[in-house]
Structure formats: C-alpha cells, structure tokens
Symmetry: C2
Subunit: 414 residues, 2 copies
C-alpha cells in the first residue's frame, strides 16, 4: 500500500500537481456529501468521469475512501456509494512541556487512539536525550496505531519556542535551547519513517487543536494563549494558522503589561511572561523562590496550581487579589490581541484554565476598558477545555488537517 | 454583456457554486500559462473539454479572456490560443482622508487608468455630504473608465476606522463617525450600479496595495502602518488580508508605547496615536495647538510635514530629537508586530515615509532591542513608496484581487 505522503501546498496552489489537488477535491467533496457515487462527484466537481474513477481508485487503495455497497434511490443503474474511511489513518502529536512529554494519536475520522502523558523534565537535559525520549515515545505510539490496523499519516512535535520550517528550534526560553535541530535527528532516530515528521510551535498547535476539536471549533478567527511556564500565542485567521514568514509568529511574552512590574529575564520590566505568567502568579502567592523557573521541579507546578485553586476557593484574600492582578495584566494583552486581530474568541489555555473562575473576570474587565470595538462586537474571552493536551492534539490535527483540506497535496503517484 | 459580479467565497470553498470556482480556475490557469489552448486547459486542470469550452466562452464573453489567433507548434490540428484580456475591466478605489479624497482606477492587467486627489475636509462635515462627494467622484471615475473602453468591475472605499462587512463605519476617530452607513447610501447615490460597491479599512487596503503593487509586492506576510492623523495597521498573512471576525482587525492606536507620555483622547496616556502619530510629532516640533487634530485645517499637515523635513535636513536639533523619540515609540509598536506576526516586511506609510531618513534608524534601533527573533531572522523595516495613494490603490486592487485569484466566485450565470 502506498502511504499518503502529505505536504502543504504554497498559496496560490501549484498547478503542476493537479492530480494531488484533485485528490483533495474529491476527498473533501465526499467528506461533505457522503454517501455519494462517482457520477455524483463528477457532476459536482466538473471533473470528467474517467478522472474521477482513477482518483477514487487511488483513494480507496490508500484507504481514504471506501465503498459502502449502498445504492441511492435513483432512476437507472444502481451506483456504488462512497464514504470517508478515516480509520486507516492516524496523525500523531507529541509535545515537549517543561515537566512532561505528551503523545496523542487521532484518526482521520476524529477518533482518539491514544493519550499518554509522562513526567519528563526537559529543561537542563541535553537536547539529544530529549530527542531520544521523543523517538521512544513516537515508536510506541506508532506501534499502537499500527496495532489498531491503521497507518501513521504524519507526526508533529509541539515545542514551546521559535521553530523554523526546517524543524530547528531557534530559541526556547523554557527549554533553554538555541538552534537545536529536532526534525532531522528525530527522523534518524525513527529510522527514516515513511511518514512526514514536523516540528511546530506549541501555541500555534494549541490554536489548531482548538480550531478543530475545542468548544469553539470552527471559529475562523481564534486566538489561543498558552498558560504554562511562559505565555505563547497561537493565531488562526480565516481558518488558517498565522505562522509568519519564518514560522516565528506568536511571541508576545515581552510585551510590557506593567511598567512598574517585576524584572524579566530579558532585562526589561513588566513583560507579560514576568508579570502575568503562571510562574509569576506562583511567585506572588507562594513558596517558590523568585527565579526558580528553570530549576524548580516543574511537575510541582500542577500541584502548586491545584493548591492555589483550593486557596482561592477557600476565599484566601492574598491569593484572590494576586490572581486578580495577574488577570488585569493578562487582560491588557488580551485587549491588544482583540484590537489588533478581531478574533471571534480568545482562549486561555494550560494552567490559566484551572484558574478561570477568578482569573477570567479580571481579564474581561481589563479587556472591556481597553477595547476599541463597540460593546456588542467584542470577542468572547473564555478558558480552554483542552488542558495540557492542546499542543499534542494540535500536532495530530495539523497532519489530518492537511490531508483533509484543499491545502494538501498527495505525493505524486508512483 | 454580463458583468463580472464578484464576491469572496468563504473558506473552505463552497462546492455549491462549482461553476464559479471553475471559472476562476480557468482564469488563473491562463494567467500563469498563457498563451494556451482549450485542450491545454482541459489537460492541466482535469476539467472535461466540454466544460472548459463552456467556461472559456463565458470568459471571452465577459472579456476576461481573448483569442490571440496564434497556434502552437504542434502535431495535428492547429489550436486557437487564449490570453488574459484585462484591459476591459477596471477596479476603482476611493479613499477618504482627513484632508482629501482620492480616486484611482486600475485595470485587470495592472495599468493605471486614473489618479485623482482633491482637497476635501471630511471631519466635521455631515456624513451625507461626504458620501455625496464620494458619489460624484465615483461617477466621474466610472465615466473615465468607460470612455477608455472598459467596464467597472467593482469599487471600494477606504475609510480610516472600523468598517463592518456591510459597509457601515462603526467608529472612525479621524472622521468622528459612529455607525455611519456608507455602502448602502453610496450605492443609492450611484443609482444602483451593476458593479459591487465595498467599504474597507484604509490600513487593510494599504497593505493590499503594498502586496500587489509595492516595492515588496508578493511578500506573503506583510504589515503596513498608516502614518496620517492616526496610526492604523494593515496585515497580510500567507498572502491573505487579516480582517478579523467582524472586519475590525488592525487597531493598535491605543497600545501604550510610553507610560509617561502624552494623554490620549481615549483617556489613557502614552498611546501609540498620541505618542507616535504624525500629529504628535507636529505638536512636539511646532506650532500646532496641542489638541488640534479635529479642528486644524488638515491639508496644512502636508505643508507642515514638508517643513519638518526641511528643518530636519538643515540639522535642527529640536526636530531631529523629536523625530528620534517618535521613532523609538513607533519602534516599540513595530517590534511588537514583528514578534507577534513575524512578517517579511513592515512598511511605514503615509507621512512617515517622508520622514524615513531620520525616523527609520530610531524605529530599527528600538525594534532590534525588543525583537525575540535571532538577528538574521528579523523582518525588514522600510518606508512605503505608495505615499497617499495606498488606500485608494488598495481599494482598486481588492476587486481585481478577487477576480484574479481562486478566492473568487463569478455570479451564477443567468
């Protein structure tokens, strides 16, 4: 069986690979109109019947479509009907967090095949060890997908940092990485897999996960804020991720949200990361040493946030007012994003979500006071319900998204 | 002759209007491969020959394509070759500035048909008078296009403010407008024209003009800053304008760029508009009363900026340091946009361009100090060379862009 080797087509579409485009057109048509016959596809797409038959044969061979055997109520010969057969294909997403690795696999029909999370403190470890660990996880996930009678259609790793299109992590403050190649050594460690391997920014992938699976799925203009060690921004505009010219879009951590605020690792004061990140909140309310980001056992952050939620729920004034202040700073950034990008929804992800009951009102208050849009035309500000899964889920989604949409090309048939 | 009534198709494309999509596919194919025959089109697109013949006939009738009579060097029957016939179609752009109205018409082949600018102080006038004046200008421009043996394919008005998809100006600080319908009354004043009339944000249209006609045309990720009465932001991401969910994207005027800066009309201090707008610079260096934005005879701004350029060129220290300070504030906003959106290029438009020699170094300095991207991966910061024409030129381009790309649908054939 040939693999569905997918890649993203540059816009505007490259007419050289018309067959690839037409494969995607047929696939997308069946997705919206299934069950349908070959003749229906020809009539609806304007492609000629011989072309449609050949495209459908290839898609059946690739297990993207299957015949149901059903026939429509029609005059004339009964026709074989086609439906999407997503079960044979799965995308795998991996995520490197400050204190964990996550793996998720989802098939083309949207079914979750696996969700794994394991404790792993990447910051401070040599990149080679982290990549070896990713490879181990990827091999296990791929084996599980194959055991479920499917093939892996692609794998994407979510990393908190600037990732270039070649899969090099140019900078990651969380991991303390500079110019670390991830894609190439991961591919080598996987023995040159027959599916594409990608590396992408965790916030961008989080936004993609929200766009495809979240409570506001399908919102064409969507902003997702990560709330882990630092604040990352993932952007969807017109249904398409905003990656920027070099893949570096989404950095807002050094926006000054509090001129008299705490000093940031970048040398400036009152940056979003330093004044409104989850770590900043933990420093304000608790026991963590003031410069502990890199050094602290980071799995402890989950425990600390849970403790904070308990104290806020118990009405502890110090905690509530700290969350409120962080919310106002975060709200400044949210208002800026709302004014600049006019999304339908802005989602607070990661550990912000757990704090939503107290955080959200402050964020919304600050947003209202700084919004330039009329009252009735402001984006919804809400907490994400994808939790720590967002990055890895987006990693699985990015591959399926490419297969599923017209922004796809199949490898030229051999 | 039927008119090419164009509209933008939502993403993902609506399969219901397959003929419209296929018209655009054929048009785009001829644009890239001309001269080519009907058989070439069928072979390259996978559309069947009868469909291609019918599509080509419609495009010839609409004067989007024409037969050249040339034949290719080929075995078998000679074929009639097709090329784009853009000369029959022109887009018209109008712009409402604080002190002028501009009209520009450009044909589908990119030739400028007319460029008019007339002094007109819109702020303070009833919207009805402004719209009547726009209608007068539009009628004259349409007559000129028709005299040049073409038809108007669409008209778009650039307005400094928040414009919704229905063509209502929800807010414009420059014009002091709230919820002013522009499209509907303009269409009425034009007697229900047989081309579509649109209204859009001036910065978004400026970005489109840069993307299509500017010195960095084709840069898929591009930011354009207006430098007139206020600072507006136009965004192109992946070759597509970022308009947001309600068309309100691009507002950055109330970003705080100087916590100890001047008070803004919004009530906060140190906003981008108040601290780094062209008016702010004129207030710092000159003779304009401190709160003169709305009241001052605004044509005077051109004269004042020219005077400022002269004084800076003569080495006047007060002027140079004022431009430098404004540049640092503006550079803060530029760095924010660079970090968040990672464009290839950020262009300073309007009157910023005239001041570029002194303004640009300060902007670049501030950008460098705040950029999170590696040195070699930063966007180019440059001045626009479209001058005051950017908004109107973008208004003409937006219509042609829709005709020209796959993001188009032709009206269902009657």
């Amino acid at each position: 069986m040939r693999m569905a080797d997918v890649r993203t087509v540059p816009q505007p579409a490259d007419f050289a690979d018309v067959r690839a485009t037409n494969l995607a057109v047929v696939l997308r048509h069946v997705r919206t109109a299934a069950p349908c016959s070959r003749a229906d596809i020809a009539a609806s797409t304007g492609l000629n019947k011989a072309t449609v038959s050949s495209l459908v044969a290839e898609l059946i061979e690739r297990r993207m479509l299957r015949e149901t055997g059903l026939t429509e109520n029609r005059i004339g010969r009964p026709a074989t009907m086609l439906v999407i057969d997503g079960s044979g294909y799965a995308g795998i997403g991996l995520a490197i967090g400050p204190d964990h690795l996550t793996a998720i696999a989802v098939d083309l029909a949207g079914r979750r095949i696996l969700t794994w999370r394991r404790s792993f403190t990447a910051p401070g470890k040599p990149p080679g060890r982290v990549i070896a660990e990713l490879a181990r996880l990827a091999r296990r996930a791929a084996a599980r997908v194959e055991a479920a009678a499917g093939s892996v259609v692609g794998l994407t790793v979510a990393v908190p940092g600037l990732v270039d299109p070649a899969g090099v992590v140019c900078r990651s403050a969380v991991l303390d990485w500079h110019d670390v190649e991830v894609r190439a050594p991961l591919e080598r460690a996987l023995g040159g897999p027959d599916y594409p391997v990608g590396v992408d920014n965790d916030a961008t992938l989080g936004a993609l996960a929200e766009y495809r699976y979240g409570a506001h799925a399908g919102a064409s203009d969507l902003v997702y804020l990560t709330g882990e060690a630092a604040v990352g921004v993932g952007l969807i505009s017109g249904g398409v991720p905003v990656r920027g010219a070099r893949g570096f879009a989404g950095e807002l951590g050094h926006l000054c949200v509090d001129p008299s605020g705490p000093r940031c690792s970048c040398g400036h004061t009152g940056c979003l990361d330093a004044a409104a990140g989850v770590d900043a909140l933990l420093r304000r309310t608790g026991d963590a040493p003031p410069d502990a980001r890199g050094a602290r056992d980071l799995l402890a952050r989950d425990v600390e946030v849970a403790d904070l939620v308990r104290r806020a729920a118990a009405g502890e004034e110090r905690v509530r007012s700290a969350i409120d202040e962080v919310g106002i700073r975060l709200g400044y950034a949210v208002a800026l994003l709302a004014n600049l990008l006019d999304p339908q929804v802005i989602l607070l992800g990661g550990q912000y979500a757990a704090l939503g009951r107290w955080l959200l009102p402050a964020v919304q208050r600050a947003h209202r006071s700084l919004s330039v849009a009329p009252d009735t035309h402001r984006p919804l500000i809400a907490t994400s319900n994808l939790g720590y899964e967002a990055g890895a889920l987006g990693g699985a989604a990015v591959v399926l998204d490419a297969v599923d949409s017209a922004r796809v090309a199949f490898a030229r048939s051999a």
